[in-house]
């Protein structure tokens, strides 16, 4: 602990600043790790003897203006590094870079992979901290603050992340370094992850199949827990979140420690519980939309400088009500529900969860070890077992689930990273997955076993002035055996898919302020069992879905390019992307409708087509004065079915966000107060395929929100208070990406209060 304290805050003492005449000079530069060349964000840079200072940005750049000519002492400190004090002579605007050295012990502490990944990369990624303003939000919701990321919702309780219009089997979620293997194929199956385990959420946009395996067509979401504590003793955090909509909240507790007697050993336990009652649209309650969640995790690590092991266990459990009005019998019910001014089955407030509801639990056990091979290499091996149980209860069935799925997955990953020269490193890896899936109750997807093996190599080279080249190749073999009972006999079907994938990307720093990167990639995924075999009614949308057992793998050819500019008061980034998908698996309407005893249902079948998705994400941050920050993001996507010459369904509409945030300056750093307002505008998605939907897309909408947060250092620790109002004007609207848009408005005003105490 002492080491850290000594390292971070710098005691200002006056030394210099002689010539006072010219005080508009600027010093700027980059903070780069001396060893691995990765850029260091959030380094503190101060001019001693003044109150001038700043923090390096995501790319490690910093800039301090308002300097007077003369001799200055400039100091840079970063967590885990000895502070650097440099004396510089300023007579004009100058560039000064820092190369801090990480403390040896810290450098070798067990770090969770994705935590502080080598930030400099050819792929586009954006990280948000799961803190203050995110707490209590689901994973999907937290991520949607990143441009180009949306959520696909089923009511207010279920939200799935979506990158550039793609989701589920085209988007990979890595929970603590392990591929999340649940029932991803369903639109109404949200990732089974407790967001409170996360410290950082990173979105990698664009194909990342080489590093992470098939499914990472749209990108990857990395959920990274906090690195294990470095300070001796026991610490922790307590969080309390309350919200008016649903009249409930969350409480979360975490303890962690490390002890002087056994320096190499660190531990953490953590848990959270959540309870919400019926949630509320502006004009009515949504019957049976309560939810409860209880999660816990435990982690230990035992490591020295050269080797280490880590063991992690987590459990996620939820019980969530399915909005009564969405459980419909047939198409007439759907039209009736849509035409009704408010849901036909309305209710008051209630905490009880009644049928229909879902009960989901997910368990992860992970063991990881690493060993340094010489001074330049490192081998890591990770084994994980996941068990996922999903039970869906109908209105009719009270005691036994109408259908349930159980899925058990074993994954093993072996990676070797080798720094073969000062500016180049190579990563080699193999991964293996074994999965069993069973169901009981109503038929939806059959039992299957899956094996998947992959082999990859990635090389990263820096050369010339500011160039970085990254290229990789991978080969995957996937086998799925499907078992279907046919009276007394059991039919077995075997599917084998194999495919190489590859990527090549470049990152170029141009001058001090510009970074350009571009990436080309080939990614793929095998069709999943639901696309091959589903054959039945989808109750939520009153559609009949038919799989196709002859589907082939889907292959994506993507290109993206991003330009970033970061200067003192202005920051800008824009990326363009395009993704051509060969054999894109798409649900398409089929005629005639299926006539059943419940009436006629619009019928959709899984068909392969060629698709083209392209778009722009842009973000600008402007600080006209130091304490004011204006952030604006825009995302635009076009998604076309090239064979049908029509649009693709379920794609996000064009949208823009604007946020103003004002921080009340406080030099002593004892308090931090931040106030702000935000708005989001979402256009009507009129680019929808003809004949695909019995009810057209909803209108455009604009929403407003307010927030305030304060951090105070107290005797007990750091106390954070955070207040937020969403949908400030209690506006009625419907969202095209919410499956419940047929039945009800989106949630009305929600006031959230969050308290957190770090001790």
């Amino acid at each position: 602990m002492l080491r850290l304290i000594a390292c971070i805050p710098l005691i200002a003492f006056a030394i210099t600043a002689s010539a006072q005449n010219d005080c508009n000079l600027t010093v700027s530069g980059q903070v780069v790790d001396e060893h691995d060349g990765s850029v260091l964000s959030y380094a503190d840079i101060v001019i001693l003897g003044t109150n001038l200072g700043t923090i390096s940005n995501e790319l490690g750049y910093y800039s301090i203006g308002g300097l007077c000519a003369g001799k200055l002492i400039i100091a840079c400190s970063h967590v885990g590094c000895e502070p650097i004090y440099d004396t510089i002579e300023v007579s004009q605007n100058i560039v000064h870079n820092f190369y801090p050295e990480h403390h040896a012990e810290l450098l070798n502490a067990v770090r969770i992979d994705e935590k502080k990944t080598p930030i400099r990369s050819a792929v586009e990624m954006e990280t948000i901290e799961y803190q203050e303003r995110q707490k209590g939000k689901s994973l999907g919701e937290s991520l949607s603050s990143i441009s180009g990321v949306n959520t696909l919702n089923t009511g207010a309780s279920i939200s799935k992340p979506m990158i550039h219009g793609l989701h589920s089997n085209r988007l990979l979620v890595l929970n603590n370094g392990v591929r999340q293997e649940g029932q991803q194929w369903g639109n109404e199956h949200a990732p089974e992850i407790d967001p409170f385990i996360a410290d950082e959420l990173t979105v990698i946009k664009g194909a990342s199949s080489v590093r992470y395996g098939s499914d990472a067509i749209a990108g990857v979401v990395l959920v990274s827990p906090k690195a294990m504590t470095d300070s001796f003793g026991i610490g922790g955090a307590f969080d309390l979140v309350g919200q008016t909509n649903g009249r409930g909240g969350i409480s979360a507790l975490m303890f962690e420690g490390s002890h002087k007697q056994i320096e190499a050993f660190r531990w953490r336990v953590q848990g959270s519980i959540k309870k919400l009652g019926n949630q509320q649209a502006p004009d009515y309650f949504l019957k049976n939309t309560g939810l409860e969640e209880w999660n816990f995790s435990a982690a230990t690590s035992f490591s020295d400088q050269k080797k280490g092991v880590e063991l992690y266990y987590s459990q996620f459990n939820t019980n969530l009500g399915i909005f009564s009005a969405s459980h419909i019998g047939n198409l007439s019910d759907l039209y009736r529900a849509f035409e009704a001014n408010e849901p036909i089955e309305s209710s008051g407030f209630d905490y009880r969860i009644q049928p229909p509801f879902q009960r989901v639990s997910h368990e992860l056990l992970k063991a990881k070890g690493f060993i340094n091979t010489g001074s330049k290499g490192r081998i890591e091996i990770t084994y994980a077992r996941q068990y996922n149980l999903r039970e869906e209860y109908d209105k009719h069935s009270m005691d036994i689930p109408a259908l349930s799925f159980e899925i058990t997955t074993h994954t093993t990953d072996l990676n070797w990273r080798y720094q073969h020269s000062d500016r180049a490193n190579l990563t080699l890896g193999v991964s293996a997955l074994m999965q069993d899936n069973t169901y009981s109750g109503r038929f939806f997807i059959p039992n299957f076993k899956k094996w998947s093996n992959g082999l990859f190599a990635i090389e990263k080279v820096e050369f010339g002035e500011g160039w970085l080249l990254e290229f990789g190749a991978r080969f995957d073999y996937v086998q799925q055996n499907v078992f279907i009972r046919n009276d007394e006999a059991i039919d077995q079907y075997r599917y084998i898919f194999q495919q190489p994938s590859g990527t090549i990307g470049v990152n170029r720093s141009i001058g001090k302020y510009w970074v350009w990167r571009s990436n080309l990639g080939i990614a793929w995924r095998p069709p999943n069992v639901s696309e091959l075999y589903s054959n039945g009614l989808h109750h939520g949308s009153a559609t009949f879905e038919i799989g196709d057992t002859n589907l082939l793998q889907e292959v994506s050819y993507s290109w993206d390019s991003e330009i970033q500019y970061v200067h003192r008061t202005f920051e800008f980034q824009a990326s363009v992307y395009s993704n051509y998908m060969n054999n894109f698996i798409n649900l398409q309407p089929r005629f005639p409708a299926t006539l059943t005893i419940r009436g006629a249902f619009p019928t959709f079948e899984y068909v392969q087509t060629n698709a083209l998705l392209y778009g722009i994400d842009a973000k600008a941050v402007y600080s006209p004065i130091q304490s004011l920050k204006i952030t604006s993001t825009t995302s635009i996507l076009r998604a076309k079915d090239l064979n049908a010459k029509d649009w693709l369904a379920q794609m996000p509409a064009d949208q823009s966000k604007l946020e103003l945030s004002y921080s009340i300056p406080n030099m002593k750093g004892e308090r931090e107060v931040n106030l702000g307002a935000n708005s989001i505008w979402v256009n009507k998605q009129w680019r929808v395929p003809s004949m695909s939907d019995c009810i057209g897309p909803p209108n455009a909408y604009m929403l407003f929100g307010l927030f305030a947060l304060a951090k105070v250092k107290t005797n007990f620790g750091e106390l954070g208070i955070n207040f937020e109002i969403n949908n400030l004007f209690n506006q009625r609207y419907r969202n095209y990406l919410n499956r419940y848009r047929y039945y009800s408005d989106e949630l009305g005003r929600n006031t959230i209060l969050r308290l957190s105490l770090k001790f």
């Binding site: 050993f265 531990w267 435990a298 230990t300 035992f302 092991v309 063991l311 266990y313 459990q315 459980h327 419909i328 019998g329 047939n330 007439s332 019910d333 036909i344 089955e345 639990s361 368990e363 056990l365 077992r385 068990y387 149980l389 109908d394 209105k395 009719h396 069935s397 109408a402 159980e406 899925i407 058990t408 069993d436 899936n437 069973t438 169901y439 009981s440 109750g441 109503r442 038929f443 059959p446 039992n447 299957f448 076993k449 078992f483 279907i484 009972r485 059991i490 077995q492 054959n535 039945g536 009614l537 009949f544 038919i546 299926t594 006539l595 059943t596 005893i597 419940r598 009436g599 249902f601």
Partner: protein
């Protein structure tokens, strides 16, 4: 060092062995899927004033999808009155299962609704759950000759039955072609 390592790995291993859940099923031995309360067949039993009996059936034995349903047409006489009883069957198994009893037992949660395309046929429910009509029994009154259709739906309305066809979930909705001659 080694022993401490073992000691500290012991705790999570205990958690694992106690906490870890296992799949009860065997993927290579799939269960028979059971469709609860599957209704495959609707039977209409007509009795006219002189006691003669006719029957019409709407059936989809293999359930949704697969083969097309078999649908009888209703041939009714002009200016006649019929007593009609409706039966719901599950014929997907080896033996037909009568689902009508379950509806009778939960008659306060069910309602049968009739939608006729012509004014020349009126249908009145003649049974009751004590508060509201049910519709398993009804009286059909015809007037002039016409061609049209009758849609019969079974609504499941637990806790929300109010005598109208609006609330609840539709369990059955079948349309019979109708000829009054």
């Amino acid at each position: 060092m080694k022993t401490t390592l073992i000691k500290y790995l012991l705790i999570p291993s205990i958690i694992f062995s106690v906490g870890c859940k296992r799949d009860k099923g065997d993927p290579e031995d799939p269960l028979d899927h059971n469709e609860e309360e599957l209704i495959t067949t609707v039977e209409l039993h007509f009795t006219n004033s002189i006691g003669s009996h006719i029957m019409a059936t709407w059936s989809d034995i293999d359930g949704p999808g697969g083969m097309d349903p078999l649908i009888d047409s209703l041939f009714l006489d002009t200016n006649s009155v019929y007593d009609v009883s409706i039966e719901f069957l599950n014929e997907s198994g080896e033996e037909a299962e009568d689902m009508t009893h379950e509806i009778e037992e939960e008659d306060d949660e069910h309602l049968i609704c009739f939608d006729v395309s012509s004014d020349n046929l009126t249908i009145d429910r003649t049974d009751s759950d004590g508060t509201f009509e049910v519709g398993l029994m009804s009286k059909w009154t015809t007037s002039e000759a016409t061609i049209g259709s009758v849609t019969i739906s079974l609504k499941h309305q637990p806790d929300v039955k109010d005598g109208t066809c609006v609330p609840g979930e539709t369990d059955v909705e079948v349309t019979f072609p109708m000829v009054i001659e």
